[in-house]
């Protein structure tokens, strides 16, 4: 089991004929993801990597079937691509694109109200269920099938966390990168809820960073609802205040969004917070030990 995606998830790729789209479609196929086709307006009727290309998401869904769509289109067209996928009724939409204007995302989120699609990202690495399905750009080679759920706002820091777990012999149920933008589809709390409900996930690693209040809200949710152990790391303790650290959402203002505040919030809800980024795996071991599930995690 896992959350949201599994071996039989059918995926279409929006922007399949672009450089990034094509490269990562190949990677997804070789990982075993069931990619059924792609969408590039104006290239309908052609093929890419032996997959059919359609002009619209709706047509792709009707002809080849899609449970999920992954978006690799340039930032200026990305908001409309997300809305097209929502309109076509795609249940899970993963937007990899970085650099979408904030006001475009604001419109997208408003548009999605009352609709039935889940959006992950934008500006995210996607998600992976080891040995089952990968949607996005995460490197499958470092993952191992298991029982730890991973959530992160950062791409490469997700890889770092997953790599540490794998090297400790701890596998993952699903790893989800929720993205570094200030306005995003799925937040920490949504993923935590899904992991709490997933019988195959026994513990969770959560990687946050400065800016916003998603980590604090997640901490409140954990305190009230979460029974599974949580380990965490927050990046950006040494970031200068008021500067945007690469990610559009990674900025502190006044006393809000600081690493210290987030760490304190997570500790107060019982999470084990790693002091430094090299000890994320150890933090998880400690959290699992406390909960008495270390042996189950190694299975």
């Amino acid at each position: 089991m896992s959350i949201w995606i599994a071996k039989d998830t059918r995926v279409i790729v929006q922007g399949i004929t672009g450089g990034q789209g094509r490269f990562h479609t190949e990677q997804m196929l070789s990982y075993g993801t069931k990619v059924t086709g792609g969408v590039t307006p104006g290239k309908g009727g052609t093929e890419c990597l032996s997959l059919p290309v359609f002009d619209t998401v709706r047509e792709a869904r009707e002809k080849v079937g899609a449970d999920a769509s992954v978006i690799f289109v340039p930032p200026r067209f990305a908001a409309s691509s997300i809305m097209e996928a929502v309109d076509a009724g795609i249940p899970l939409i993963v937007c990899i694109t970085e650099g979408i204007p904030v006001q475009d995302m604001m419109t997208v989120k408003r548009y999605m109200e009352g609709k039935h699609s889940r959006l992950i990202g934008p500006n995210c690495p996607g998600l992976i269920t080891p040995d089952g399905c990968k949607i996005g750009i995460l490197p499958g080679s470092i993952c191992k099938k298991g029982h730890v759920g991973v959530i992160s706002r950062s791409g490469t820091l997700t890889y770092e966390a997953v790599d540490q777990l794998t090297k400790l012999g701890i596998g993952q149920s699903t790893a989800v990168g929720i993205g570094g933008d200030p306005i995003r589809g799925t937040g920490f709390t949504d993923v935590l809820k899904a992991f709490e409900e997933d019988p195959d996930t026994l513990a969770v690693v959560m990687i946050g960073e400065i800016g916003g209040s998603g980590e604090e809200e997640a901490a409140e949710w954990i305190k009230a609802n979460m029974k599974k152990p949580v380990a965490a790391f927050i990046a950006g303790r040494t970031a200068p205040p008021g500067r945007r650290m690469g990610h559009a959402g990674a900025i502190t203002s006044g006393n809000t969004g600081t690493a210290e505040g987030k760490i304190a919030a997570l500790r107060s809800c019982g999470a084990v917070v790693a002091e430094t980024p090299d000890r994320i795996g150890e933090a998880l071991l400690m959290a699992a030990k406390r909960a008495g599930i270390l042996e189950e995690l190694r299975r």
């Binding site: 979408i100 490469t156 306005i183």
Partner: protein
């Protein structure tokens, strides 16, 4: 992206928001001319990308053209240290010379993004002039906040709800409403992240004027605003940060001596954190992005090495799908062409990791390989500690 007050004031004028008459001056002579055109008495305001200019001595009152020229001479070329600039301060290169306002009342006015609510928010206080952060602490009840539905926009009834319960005359309330609707149109049409007027003032005759103007834009939306891109003042940016922009690198200058080159913003922040935790001090934040080509890595090395404080470099790349042998080749080429004279520790993980390590080892360069994040951070901290002695 930030712009200067005089540029923001021009945009306000374009959108029909009342602003004082004013002129840009880059020399004392131009300030004298501006003062003449304004009838002598005028305000001279230093144009730097920072708040708190008044308190730092960047805003002066002149009573005639001669005094305007004299004050301008003192301000131009001077360094203003405000609470937002850091100790280094910012050099004043431009002045905005405006007519004096006859201030009866001051208001705080802004429109910004509320990321948590995922929509714009209008913030207003009948008690302006001071900083809003201060007011939020001392008298939060004096601040009104109104969320704006992105589909329907700011509605006049919303403004009535907010303003009617404040102690403001009807005429002035109507003018504020008009300004708010115009400012919101500007906010949406130009992809602003902030439109702030502090203070918005009312004079004895009930005229309402924006005597300050601050606008920030969403960098991600600049592609569709060529007019706004032209307003960028490169001299306001730190030299190395400007250079990094040319290579499409994300660089932020810090004051330590260990340079970092990392792929991914989160890992780059985490790398700074671990260096600090191991007793070192990072010289910068640098994210080379997902597609670290040879050109980018070369550019990154050049920028890092141009910082005279740098005593060592830590390259931390989690390749993921990027192939480590290709990255290693890029590092070796770049290191050769930029002749690095300080210790260089490289941590490389991901696809084709072993081949990558072989390339580094066989390069003939003094590259110190690291097994993982902690090993790399420990090594660079120790080497730089030795270099400091």
């Amino acid at each position: 992206m930030n712009i200067h007050e005089y540029q923001a004031s021009n945009l306000f004028r374009e959108y029909g928001i009342p602003v004082p008459e004013g002129y840009l001056a880059e020399t004392p002579e131009e300030a004298r001319e501006a003062s003449k055109m304004l009838g002598g008495r005028c305000v001279i305001k230093a144009q730097i990308h920072s708040g708190g200019r008044g308190k730092a001595g960047g805003v002066k009152l002149a009573s005639d053209p001669d005094e305007a020229a004299r004050l301008a001479e003192g301000l131009l070329g001077s360094v203003l240290v405000t609470k937002q600039t850091g100790n280094k301060g910012k050099t004043v290169r431009k002045l905005f010379v405006t007519e004096c306002a006859d201030i009866e009342r001051e208001f705080y006015f802004s429109i910004t993004m509320d990321n948590r609510e995922e929509c714009p928010v209008f913030i207003f206080s009948s008690d302006g002039g001071t900083e809003i952060e201060e007011l939020a602490k001392t008298a939060p009840e004096k601040i009104g906040r109104m969320h704006i539905d992105p589909v329907f926009g700011l509605m006049d009834y919303q403004l009535r709800y907010m303003l009617d319960r404040m102690d403001i005359e009807k005429d002035i309330r109507d003018r504020i409403t008009d300004i708010a609707l115009r400012a919101y149109r500007l906010f949406r049409e130009k992809d602003c992240s902030l439109v702030e007027i502090n203070p918005l003032i009312a004079d004895r005759n009930g005229n309402v004027t924006a005597v300050d103007a601050k606008i920030n834009f969403d960098d991600n939306a600049l592609f569709r605003h060529p007019d706004i891109r032209l307003l960028r003042d490169e001299l306001e940016e730190e030299e190395r940060e400007r250079e990094a922009g040319r290579y499409d690198l994300n660089y932020i200058q810090l004051d330590g001596d260990i340079a970092c080159m990392v792929n991914g913003a989160g890992l780059a922040m985490a790398t700074m954190d671990i260096i600090k935790a191991f007793g070192g001090s990072p010289a910068n934040f640098l994210d080379v992005g997902g597609s670290a080509t040879k050109e980018k890595i070369e550019g990154a090395f050049r920028i890092l090495l141009s910082d005279p404080n740098v005593k060592g470099i830590f390259v931390n790349i989690f390749g993921g799908i990027m192939k480590c042998d290709i990255i290693a080749g890029g590092i070796v080429d770049a290191a050769k062409s930029t002749s690095i004279g300080v210790p260089l520790v490289v941590r490389l993980t991901g696809t084709h990791e072993e081949e990558g390590k072989k390339i580094l080892a066989g390069s003939g360069l003094a590259i110190i390989p690291a097994e993982d994040l902690a090993d790399g951070a420990r090594k660079i901290c120790r080497l730089v500690e030795e270099a400091r002695k």
